[in-house]
């Protein structure tokens, strides 16, 4: 605690002092542009990894970055999502899993949790779709590789859950909401973002290096509530006309994931 309390003093004398105007302004209200949903894991600092300033990220954190489907729980997730979309008019949501996730490891040995950590056990029920999908489709993987797949698929599972909320469903229908699937890799300090065209997690920032694409997130088609709006490497997920997404292979040099990794992640979606 002493360290933290020294930190408070340090923060006040350095960061706060240098940015007093910002704090004055923030005290009048927040206008965050992104709802960032991630794990409670101590190794994640959303503001640090995105270099986002104060006031930019509205944050939900729980074990496993899990979002129970609408109506399934009466915990804080639903209320906080509703507040973000309805009261703050946030139009972008990032669901961010991460490597070495303890909750996802728990999903691999669920039975042992029943007695030891009953609340965690019950909570992982809302990642059961992940567990089942991986069990049915990736049975030949194990260990670290299996964990990576679980982590990657779970973010997609949670986005499916997220889509069941009334406010989310309505905003998606209006084309006023984009949802992104990210995975933070602790060992490389990198984010991989899901690319629905490629059905793979890819490095989003490569794109910005090579091109200065307009980042405006164009409206998804009217029926977009049946299509997930993931982070696109090219920052242009769908055309405004409501047409199908165009393949973007040529200007996306996918060098990040190994072919094996690609193949693995691909498999989950390839069944579609």
């Amino acid at each position: 605690m002493k360290k933290l309390i020294k930190g408070l003093r340090e923060f006040k004398s350095s960061y706060f002092s240098a940015n007093e105007e910002l704090f004055e302004q923030l005290s009048h209200g927040q206008k965050p542009r992104v709802l960032f949903i991630t794990c409670s894991d101590s190794r994640i600092d959303p503001n640090l990894i995105t270099q986002a300033g104060l006031g930019e990220l509205f944050v939900i954190r729980n074990a496993g970055n899990i979002i129970p489907p609408f109506g399934a729980t009466n915990g804080g997730e639903g209320a906080t999502i509703e507040y973000a979309i309805q009261a703050l008019d946030i139009q972008q949501i990032i669901v961010c899993g991460h490597s070495h996730c303890g909750a996802m490891k728990g999903l691999m040995k669920l039975d042992s949790l029943r007695v030891e950590m009953p609340l965690v056990h019950d909570w992982l029920k809302y990642a059961e779709a992940t567990r089942r999908l991986v069990k049915d489709n990736y049975s030949h993987y194990e260990g670290e590789e299996l964990l990576e797949i679980i982590i990657a698929e779970n973010v997609l599972t949670q986005i499916e859950n997220l889509r069941t909320y009334p406010v989310i469903r309505s905003k998606l229908h209006q084309g006023q909401l984009s949802i992104y699937a990210w995975i933070y890799q602790i060992e490389t300090g990198e984010i991989l973002a899901y690319d629905p065209q490629k059905h793979a997690y890819v490095l989003p920032q490569n794109q910005l290096l090579s091109s200065e694409i307009d980042e405006t997130l164009l409206s998804p088609p009217l029926n977009s509530n049946v299509e997930i709006h993931f982070t696109k490497t090219q920052q242009r997920p769908f055309q405004s006309s409501g047409e199908l997404p165009i393949p973007t292979h040529e200007w996306f040099p996918m060098t990040v994931l190994s072919p094996e990794q690609m193949e693995r992640i691909y498999r989950g979606s390839a069944t579609k």
Copy 2:
């Protein structure tokens, strides 16, 4: 999004590059010392305000830094608390409210939320003890002042709720857990910590300026399950022998809160 994605690149090339060893180490596991429970509000960055490093804070964030009583919900809060205490062996919990909290404003106009934001409305049930206490005891306050009181009392309400969790109750009994009540004031960049002896929120860091007290959190009294362990200004809430807490008035120059603020926080009890 473009800004965030640029931020990712920046983070990788600057912070990550400068701390590769840390990340390598973190990839092998986390060992956070503190569970930090705070609001989703975008103006709060727990790591920034405490200057805590990666790996130090295990974080729960939801609208209003609310912890439903054990058994009252099946959301992520209980599971994440259980994981923090049981799996990570965390021994210090900070519940941190903040000024200008939108959820607490909602508590002041609960009826209007029923239709507009039903999930938020239902979620605020777990702050009902706050609403009731403030209604019964601070009816002569209004506006900003009333909001401040609600925020301050709500942190204490949530600590009452926290104490009903089996893992919490057991660890408190063993004297292996300390719980601290904090309020982050956006406009001053300061934390006020609840001092149970003074029954007031005070600046914790003053203490460290004037004395170099060993920060080891000594054991709470025998059967600590009847005493809450709040953040003490002197960082030594109770003596290790299990004796009663000693008054610390002499070496605590209470200059932070204005007399009016003090009087206000006091008033609730002063009517006795």
Copy 3:
């Protein structure tokens, strides 16, 4: 039934006849001073053991004298507590466990209840903090001794739960409510009351033998929401000024519990 019906006649011709005025008076309303929460066990008669008259005790009875945390159930406990505090303005609550409690025995063999008595099994969830605390701290006890510890700790657990109710929290804050932890020992016909200073259950009546202390329950410390008001052996838990409680060892001859019993109840905390 015949016996009971004969009893009704007997009651009418003896007790009722001798106290007609009392009944006339009671028919105009009740003004009980104490909410007495105890087990359904047939061996407990709250009015008999306290020699309280009709109209004095408002009584909640269920298996295990359990009070689920606020919001955790929609059973009668919360409503009855609310009615007692809000409508009847009761200012003293006794939570009274008892020796040989069948529900607490159930807590020791929870698994076997799942199939045989599913409602009892689920109900005992609200004593899970007791089970966990005892499992973690008293693992070297068994049989009758273990049961005694469970019974004693459970009363304290239920008081933690009780404190999460809005009406309770507000009244505690105002210093208008005192909560007492009792255990009724069937074999000796005695009540042991929890003494928070001694962290032990002691005989309350010894006190009254040796001193004629004003029984007025003085105000708890300011912000009593951080201090539980247990039954004090000396009937004067805290000084009215809001100062810290005074030790009362000198005038409390602790002769009731055997050293072994004392040691046992102490041990949970002694490991610190």
Copy 4:
């Protein structure tokens, strides 16, 4: 509190001393014959009014002697009923309402409770069948008379609810359980018991004056789950053969209720 604590001492020195053998015996276990469900009202002392000894009555008490239907709540009522029937093998249940019941008064002004006592408001949902029946069938009554009808009908409502519990249903089917509807009248000190043949609440003890009938509760017919087993004045509710109950008017001089009262109570059942 001083009074209660003096009472404890008194109880120990008088009643306990005179009955030490009984207490010794009780410490080995309980074998109550009756589950007595009544209101928390301080003016009711089940053991006093029935002159039942310690160990005879297993008692549930909540506001309004309400038993939510099976599955409707997760409070203590269901678990305690299950324990009584399954673990203690109790074969007789008395649901005992009483005159001047505050909870039933609440049923007459439900809307005003929503804000003031929300838990009580929600709890009275399980007496909604009473409220509706009375509203639909007794609209021409008001004040005290209406309250009496509500109290009388509510006991029957709660018995309907009681019959939904698996253990109750099974035991009724086996003819091993009898359920009695009582009303305790504070002003007269008398119990009225529901007589299903007469469809009226009557004085049960009159019967025992005039005859020495075998009290054995004979098995109800196989389909007894569609017939409530109320207290019969003649202590012989149904014949073992499964025939319909015989009218018993000749040896039951119904002098207690006025014809108007009879008519009123009759009406509720006359619709059958």
